[in-house]
Symmetry: D2
Subunit: 101 residues, 4 copies
């Protein structure tokens, strides 16, 4: 269960920092973080030039922010991310075997 301790660490942090937001607010925060990641990808792999006034950032930072809010959302719903990811990998293996086996 590699993700369980991370979920616990985030939960501990949140519990002493005001608790989780409601679901729709967490979703909006997720979308905000995806927007920032998207800006970074566009700068590095797309055609958008960076303005000199734009804050420094990095894909590592943005992926970290995204993972943090994703863990918050899972925690709020009582979802075990190890199981969630396990389900995805299982789904892909099955889909895969149907396609090429």
């Amino acid at each position: 269960m590699p993700l369980a301790p991370l979920q616990k660490a985030v939960d501990d942090w949140i519990s002493v920092n005001g608790g989780y937001w409601d679901e729709m607010s967490m979703l909006a925060r997720l979308v905000e973080e995806v927007g920032e990641l998207s800006r970074e990808y566009n700068h590095q792999f797309g055609q958008k030039k960076k303005k000199s006034s734009e804050a420094e950032s990095s894909i590592e930072d943005e992926l970290g922010d995204l993972l943090f809010i994703l863990i918050c959302m899972a925690n709020k719903q009582g979802i075990d991310l190890d199981e969630a990811l396990g389900g995805v990998l299982k789904k892909y293996r099955i889909r895969d075997s149907t396609r090429w086996a």
Copy 2:
């Protein structure tokens, strides 16, 4: 054709400002703008407090930015937004009549 002159105005502006980006870069820009709109919604209707260091913005500005990139994406693909919107309204009317008629 209420949107046609707007599409033309944006096209004129783009043509003297370097041309359209490739499709994936425009998509990434759209996502960035949705992220900024999402932040504003969370501030005004959700639970996210605004940091004093965050740039002033408004929902009107963010919706304008979003509409601008949406028009760029339509222009790049040669899509008539009046027809696109007409198709949506037609779809909703049909779905509606099926549901309640």
Copy 3:
């Protein structure tokens, strides 16, 4: 005011179909539509292969859906999209003149 009659048409349609959702629900719908548009872009301009089981769609349809919810969001806040877009174009012209003039 090219967009005003469109905003009015959408408002008329919404008023006889249950009224506007709350802001966070409309935002979530916008994000859902952006996701569908993103899937189409990935199919046509990116590396994602379409599964045969996936619903037929088109960029025109997705841009229409996106424009519809964008108009709904503007209407709910009493925002005039002609002014919003005008503000964007003005901002770009000013930014532009600063950069190259």
Copy 4:
């Protein structure tokens, strides 16, 4: 390093299934997944009614899909997600101490 084995497992799976997509395609896939998660949140916590024709889904599945593509994006860039998340937690602690200490 709780996430390292997960990143490795995903990398192994990808390496026998065609390799990673280019960055902009992965970003588009991330946005697609966020859209599906957003639809689920709107169904469960917002005002959108589920259509009977819509595919069954769950927040757990959607969070799993999102985590999977997030790991793919990190892997492609050679980013250690344990470090990325550690950086976020450190940033929040510092921001926190500035605010309330």
